[in-house]
């Protein structure tokens, strides 16, 4: 019963070796770091594999963790010795920062621990412009003083100028250089704060020349605060609620005078 510790280590190592010898699909790497360029719409990760076993491997399913990622195999079955790859196409959309997505691959490997492989793609998305805040608003009747939106341009994008336009004439917007390099200060001011107004402010950088690079923020004058009404009937409450909803809803067109 007094087993030599060296024997024990040997048994553990041998067990591990036997276990690895049964593995068939060998992945070059199961985690990929992506660095999409500014403005890229998609980023593709390639996960390469090789069937190092003696029998064919059949892909049962390939499933991405999010709807923003589409994963596919080149083939359904991989013969012994054959190489291939699983591609994962990540649609960037409006995402920024570090994004981690996974793709779960299931094969017909009889060993359950080898049958499922989780592939991970990590993408670091640097935005062209970092805008804060995305909303400036004034309470109804508040003094119509300008409010500032800061836009920090990516230093690699060489942006020299921003063009800001309001969807309605009730707001004016002025752009100045910020306190730091590649920074802009957008000063937004309402003409009047006695009526509820909503505007989309479109921010267009002069570089790169791409129509898709238009950013939007919102400016609003809020509707009057609801006053404590005397005990009203449900019908009156419903009408008030409808009016408030209408006031808070964005103007359908830039020319709408009521907004």
């Amino acid at each position: 019963m007094n087993t030599n510790p060296l024997k024990l280590i040997g048994i553990v190592i041998l067990t591990a070796l036997v276990h690895s010898a049964r593995a068939e699909l060998k992945w070059e790497e199961t985690s990929v770091d992506l660095r999409p360029a500014i403005g890229d719409k998609q980023s593709v990760a390639h996960f390469k594999y090789e069937n190092v076993g003696k029998t064919p491997v059949y892909f049962k399913s390939v499933h991405a963790s999010c709807g923003c990622t589409a994963a596919q195999t080149q083939k359904e079955q991989v013969a012994p010795g054959e190489k291939g790859e699983v591609t994962a196409t990540f649609n960037i959309g409006g995402r920024t920062g570090t994004q981690v997505k996974t793709v779960t691959v299931q094969t017909d490997d009889p060993d359950p621990s080898r049958a499922t492989t989780v592939l991970t793609l990590k993408a670091v998305i640097t935005p062209l412009l970092e805008i804060q805040p995305a909303l400036v608003f004034w309470q109804n009747g508040e003094e119509p003083k300008p409010k500032i939106i800061t836009a920090k341009a990516n230093k690699d994008a060489a942006i020299k100028k921003l063009e800001v336009t309001s969807s309605v004439p009730d707001f004016t917007a002025k752009v100045d250089a910020g306190s730091a390099p590649n920074e802009f200060k957008i000063s937004v001011q309402p003409r009047d704060t006695t009526k509820a107004v909503y505007a989309t402010l479109s921010i267009k950088p002069d570089s790169p020349a791409n129509a898709a690079n238009i950013f939007a923020v919102a400016a609003r004058v809020m509707p009057p605060a609801p006053t404590a009404a005397p005990a009203s009937t449900p019908a009156i409450k419903s009408t008030l609620s409808t009016i408030r909803h209408d006031l808070a809803t964005p103007a359908p067109t830039a020319a709408s005078p009521s907004q």
């Binding site: 019963m1 007094n2 087993t3 510790p5 024990l8 280590i9 553990v12 985690s31 963790s65 999010c66 709807g67 923003c68 649609n91 959309g93 409006g94 995402r95 570090t98 981690v100 996974t102 990590k122 805008i131 804060q132 805040p133 995305a134 909303l135 608003f137 909503y198 989309t200 238009i214 950013f215 939007a216 923020v217 919102a218 609003r220 809020m222 609801p226 609620s241 808070a248 809803t249 964005p250």
Partner: protein
């Protein structure tokens, strides 16, 4: 004999720890699959329902899932079309209301990301994530 058994047990435990320690060192810089969220930012279906009309529901799922079905009155705001949808949402936002963001299920991360961006980029307060997401809403459907 007892001492020997204990020694062997300790040796086995130590061996079992080795790959875990190696993995912890190798993956030390890997980010979590889910954004961190504090308990105070999570709400249950019942809690959100108790707020009545003072809730703005935000659906962070992809367009097609929103079109299929959604919480009545929910506003679509996902990261696929963030630049386009964010101003539309902000036009309907109201400072008196709580914002509750949801995605497909407990395992999804989209609602956490959207809630985080609403707090940081739009600087909104009272933004919450619905625990269990759409799946939990369906389970609690009355």
């Amino acid at each position: 004999m007892k001492v020997s058994a204990v020694r062997q047990a300790l040796l086995l435990i130590a061996l079992a720890f080795m790959p875990a320690i190696g993995e912890a060192i190798y993956f030390r810089n890997r980010v979590s699959w889910q954004s961190a969220i504090s308990a105070s930012e999570l709400v249950t279906v019942d809690q959100a329902r108790s707020w009545g009309d003072n809730v703005i529901w935000v659906d962070a799922r992809p367009d097609n899932e929103f079109e299929r079905d959604h919480i009545p009155g929910a506003i679509l705001l996902n990261e696929d079309r963030w630049n386009e949808l964010l101003p539309q949402f902000l036009g309907q936002w109201s400072p008196e209301k709580q914002v509750v963001v949801y995605c497909s299920a407990q395992s999804c991360n989209a609602s956490r990301e959207v809630a985080k961006r609403l707090r940081e980029e739009a600087q909104l307060k009272d933004v919450f994530v619905l625990g269990g997401g759409w799946e939990e809403w369906l389970n609690n459907k009355r």
